[in-house]
Amino acid sequence: MYKIIENKKIARSVYKMRLEGDTSKITAAGQFINIKLDGYFLRRPISICDYDETAITIIYKVVGEGTEYMSTLTEGEELDCLVGLGNGYTLKDAENPVLIGGGVGVPPLYNLAKKLIEKGQKPSVILGFNTEDEVFLEDEFRALGCNTVVTTVDGSHGVKGFVTDALKNIDYDYFYTCGPMPMFRAIEGAATTDGQFSFEERMGCGFGACMGCSCKTKNGYKRICKDGPVLERGEIVW
């Protein structure tokens, strides 16, 4: 069981939750946890935004009943979570990788940025949102020392436009991304280097048992939950 030590709103419909408990199963940035919620049958998969020896940070958006319920939980309550699921990002040797996040695809990039910096790399960060009140983690990425560009579709904050508009102006030799499919398609069209995409799919189990989340890749069938969520650019069938 994981104890909620923080659960607060950080942007429109977006909450940050910190969970105290065993983090020893986490092996890579970009992995996720799968949360059992009272009254809901399936678990909810949420990316690990950051973690240390004693706690995990997640950032989630209220989109349906389960996340709505999560937003009502208070400190001290406990959640049954499966932790350290999925492959996570593979850290590549690159000097100037760029991390591109869209909406609630942003969170897993935070721990990734930390890990890349630890390896001596200088990641740039592009965070894409629709509008100003949705923006989160901008300050945190800057605090890590990352060159951080925020884009909003309506121009209410940062660069007006899409992440790919910002990508044009950045020097990068590799990319890591997480976000919605339309953003992925735009990146696939625009990106000039290799990179990794982190996918979402409806999940039955989240740990590889049910084949609920399969997708076809150039390297055969993969389970998003176990062989993913991160796939290499080169293996993806668009």
Binding site: Y40, F41, L42, R43, E201, R202, F207, G208, G212, S214
Partner: protein, 303 residues
């Protein structure tokens, strides 16, 4: 000490708990959570003659106390299972396993069963004539007595191991289908497979499942499963493997009292990878409370 052992059509099991096909893969993902040798046995992912990717995604939808899946029998094909999965499984599972088989023609079933029958690891062949997730195949065999019997006969003709026919609950008269299988030589009946169900995403106005409909299972279906187990166990003289909505030791006991010799745990494994382990661990105490000394004594005790 409560005696949990049961004898399922000649296959001796240390307890009646059997993870259900499609919810336990080939056991690999679970062995990282616990030593799966504590299980009575398990039924591996539905295997077909050829490899299959299955249906498009999304394949999963949530329901109150249950889920819908439309995986559509994704599996690597029987040859791959025999060449890779079974040898690998030998390393971590040291008991006879239940081979779950599907097909799209009577010949398919016979072909796949004949091959799996030769594998010493296979203790029982579980012939799934009930998968609701494949077009123009599977389902129809299990919704009609004649074809269910036909598949049974064809499989029995090419195998020596006990053959269980896994039936669909989406039928008017489960008893007549079970009886037809018994008469055709089945050594046991497994039921239920999933109920045909559907969910709609009211925001997008589309079915949640790409395939529109899918197989509904989990806690919610328990009363329907229990009823069918009861009806079939009373009507037939071959053992019944009960399945559907089982998620606790009490459910296992209730299913056995209804007539099941062994009890499968399906969707519960997916939402809690320890589900089958926890059930096995809880069984002795539950039996003691109910003054059950040998669990096999309660099989079908309900009049």
């Amino acid at each position: 000490m409560v005696d949990l052992s049961v004898n399922l059509a000649g296959m001796k099991m240390v307890n009646p708990v059997v993870p259900a096909s499609g919810t336990f893969g080939f056991g690999k993902e679970f062995k990282d959570y616990y030593d799966i040798n504590i299980l009575g046995s398990f039924s591996f992912k539905g295997t077909t003659k050829e490899a299959r990717f299955g249906n498009p995604t999304p394949r999963i939808a949530e329901c109150k106390n249950g889920m819908i899946n439309a995986v559509g029998l994704q599996n690597p094909g029987v040859h791959h299972v025999i060449e890779h999965e079974l040898p690998e499984m030998k390393e971590y599972f040291h008991k006879p396993v239940i081979a779950n088989v599907s097909g799209f023609s009577v010949e398919d079933y016979a072909y796949t069963c004949e091959l799996l029958d030769k594998e010493e690891q296979v203790g029982i062949l579980e012939v799934n004539v009930s998968c609701p997730n494949v077009h123009g195949g599977g389902m129809s065999f299990g919704t009609d007595s004649k074809s269910a019997a036909e598949v049974t006969k064809a499989v029995k003709a090419v195998t020596t191991k006990p053959v269980f026919i896994k039936l669909s609950p989406n039928v008017t008269d489960i008893v007549s289908i079970a009886k037809a299988c018994e008469e055709a030589g089945a050594d046991g009946i497994c039921l239920i497979n999933t109920l045909l169900g559907m969910r709609i995403d009211i925001k997008t106005r589309k079915p949640v499942i790409a395939n529109k409909m899918g197989g509904f299972s989990g806690d919610a279906v328990f009363p329907v499963a229990l009823r069918m187990v009861y009806q079939v166990a009373k009507a037939c003289n071959i053992p019944v493997m009960g399945c559907g909505g089982v998620s606790s030791a009490k459910d296992v006991i209730e299913m056995m009292m209804a007539g099941a010799t062994a009890v499968q745990v399906g969707a519960a494994n997916l939402i809690n990878p320890y589900a089958s382990k926890e059930i096995i661990e809880a069984l002795p105490a539950e039996c003691e409370k109910l003054k059950i000394e040998r669990i096999s004594d309660i099989i079908g005790v309900v009049e």
